[in-house]
Symmetry: C2
Subunit: 403 residues, 2 copies
């Protein structure tokens, strides 16, 4: 709120240029000078707005509007943690200045998009598009188009087709990795040369629907909607090709009713273990990170959607699909026991830990609120009103590989 | 430079309050509005100053002076990444505003100090003191003293003594962990209650001289000056006490000539391996992170000081003690081969990776320069003049456990 007020003030000041306005402008300016390390945004899907928040004081600072359709929107941050790049479902890409609240650039870059990524050096913003299927790359400074890479593939009759792009992530070495839904392919784009250099992996499995990259940026893992198992690409050894892991991971022979396919981004890494949401089952799975064998299945409250590790890896927090989505469970990674079942509100959509993990913010869309918990005591420490909140993103993501 | 100029301008503006000054003030203000995610500081030990740098453009923005004796100084950042806390060797603790260049608070808090830490929630700054031996805790907002914890211990005659404090780190749960040099003890302070709660581990080994905490904040490892081996405390299981690991780690029976004890902070974690500097030998050691057995010894150019992992863990960069300290070597963590031997200048003192690892900054004290390398091509991308540069610290440390 305050930043928005400041911002309009700055504009009226430039317009009128009277002494009183100048005084007011100079007096308020120091308030806008602030570090950006404790900022974050909450996507308000119903109103197409972002709530700008401060994680040091658990408060909302401003609301930023005019960002189009933000259902299923995601956000990345600039290298200096000043700007948020907002990927709207309607193909809109917006650059938002967190210090002024301005939308400094905005392009309608496709008809339908599903998220994006920012290059390791911060200079490129990539967007994954459904329609027309492909990846567009923009200069992060001004959102000018740098490259347009259609997601083409050859169907069984040898005809060239375009596919929806999903699971787009950044990888070390200024590369981007993504999957082609209809094609069953994974593509890697190297942006170090004059033109994009594309590497294709075909027949990786039927209908990849989402993907993740591990925190070191080595392993890219795509989930498959059309069959069981997951597709793994080791980016240190692209020549070895894509291998299949966790062959029983999926809906299985029984074709379980799945209320929502789990997000892969949320996989937790705890020591040598990967904790992941089972598909369609009320279980969290634990796999060995070295050979991807299944180590354990933990019964939980519902079909898990996000399975996220507290930054110190001692806890895993789990959210669930409808109709069990009014609950979040906390699991101790050592004992593998559920230590708490919390009720942050109706339709829990996302969770975001503060950078060093002392708190977690949880959005409950149908309760119009975000609840902040102390992760040590598991007590509620703050509650923010928000319009249909969904994704929550903090600026420390600017400094993490694949986030 | 620009920030310093701006800052004096803002002050004269407040003093004179004339229209022209006001106009100038308002026009220049937007330049000072900036994200703080790509800022960093370089400690200039000879002049007791900090060079404020921007890692997006590899340039110096300002010089901040008046910080006392900065030989062997270290730096931590506030939770919002706006302020640097500078721990001087002379016991001075300064809070520096990276946006204005102001020293906003400064206390001479002891006669001789050796670094500090910031609590998980960002509210407390802790300083490790040699003289008088102990830890002081300050409110990070204004540097007011919150607690003074003398490092007391009972000697063999039952007399209470004070010890020098070394290896102070933050740990999850608003705790601090540190070692007592003369006592051979590790202490853990829990700052969650009304008063500090102290847990003591005695007889952990002779003369701990430095320590590290792993990136998850679980394992605290102290190096021993007085005997071989290292002391390990598992903070998930403090009741299990301190155990000894790597029993041959140290100077050994032959009492090797050691030019400088290696820094423990610099240990690299790559997958399940810990890469560490051998003491007194021209070797980098590789240990198994699960059982701390020694897996390999790699011959290198000299006695290693820092052994640091690129954030994606594919490379380890190694700096060396005198007289081999004009060289840095790069090792491939998979093949364990030295892939490059670089010459960043004379008396290399520190290395700092950009948050996602695309570049590394290396200080060469006796060449009065900092060299920036592209970690993919290993080419030099920039060179900055600096007065006897030593430690380099980037603001993303604000978001990491133990940094």
């Amino acid at each position: 709120m305050r930043l928005t007020a400041l911002h309009s003030l700055r504009h009226s000041l430039l317009a009128t240029m009277v002494l009183t306005a100048l005084l007011a402008g100079c007096q308020t300016t120091p308030d806008a000078l602030r570090g950006t390390g404790d900022l974050g945004v909450i996507v308000e899907r119903a109103t197409g707005s972002l709530a700008l928040v401060d994680t040091s004081h658990q408060r909302q600072l401003a609301r930023i509007e005019g960002l189009g359709d933000l259902s299923h929107a995601s956000v990345k941050f600039s290298r200096d943690a000043r700007y948020a790049f907002v990927f709207g479902r309607d193909g809109g890409l917006s650059k938002v200045d967190l210090l002024t609240g301005d939308v400094t650039a905005r392009v309608m870059q496709s008809g339908n998009s599903i998220g994006g990524a920012i290059s390791q050096n911060g200079q490129l913003v990539a967007v994954a598009n459904y329609e027309p299927g492909g990846v567009k790359l923009f200069d992060s400074a001004n959102l000018e188009l740098v490259a347009d890479i259609p997601a083409t593939w050859q169907d069984e009759n040898g005809h060239e087709q375009r596919a929806k792009v999903v699971g787009l992530v950044d990888a070390p070495g200024n590369r981007f990795v993504y999957s082609l839904f209809e094609a069953g392919e994974i593509h890697v784009v190297d942006m170090n040369g004059e033109t994009p250099e594309l590497m294709r992996f075909t027949q990786i499995g039927k209908n990849p629907y989402d993907a993740l990259i591990d925190p070191s940026g080595r392993y890219y893992i795509a989930g498959l909607f059309g069959e069981d198992g997951l597709a793994l690409l080791d980016l240190w050894h692209p020549d070895a090709g894509v291998q299949r892991i966790l062959p029983n991971y999926g809906r299985g022979e029984e074709r379980l009713p799945v209320y929502k396919m789990p997000h892969l981004e949320g996989w937790a890494i705890a020591g040598n273990e990967a904790w992941l949401p089972a598909v369609g089952r009320h279980e969290v799975l634990i796999a060995d990170k070295d050979d991807w064998s299944l180590l354990d299945r933990l019964p939980v409250h519902g079909q898990p959607i996000f399975v996220m590790s507290r930054p110190d890896q001692r806890q895993v927090w789990v959210s669930f699909a409808h109709p069990d989505n009014d609950v979040v469970q906390v699991i101790d990674t050592e004992t593998r026991e559920i230590v708490a079942t919390l009720s942050p509100g109706k339709a829990v959509l996302h969770m975001e830990f503060t950078p060093r993990g002392e708190q977690v913010w949880i959005s409950a869309r149908d309760s119009n609120r975000v609840t902040v918990y102390d992760t040590r005591t598991l007590n509620e420490v703050a509650r923010l009103e928000s319009e249909s909140p969904s994704g929550i993103f903090f600026t420390d993501r600017a400094h993490r590989i694949g986030l």
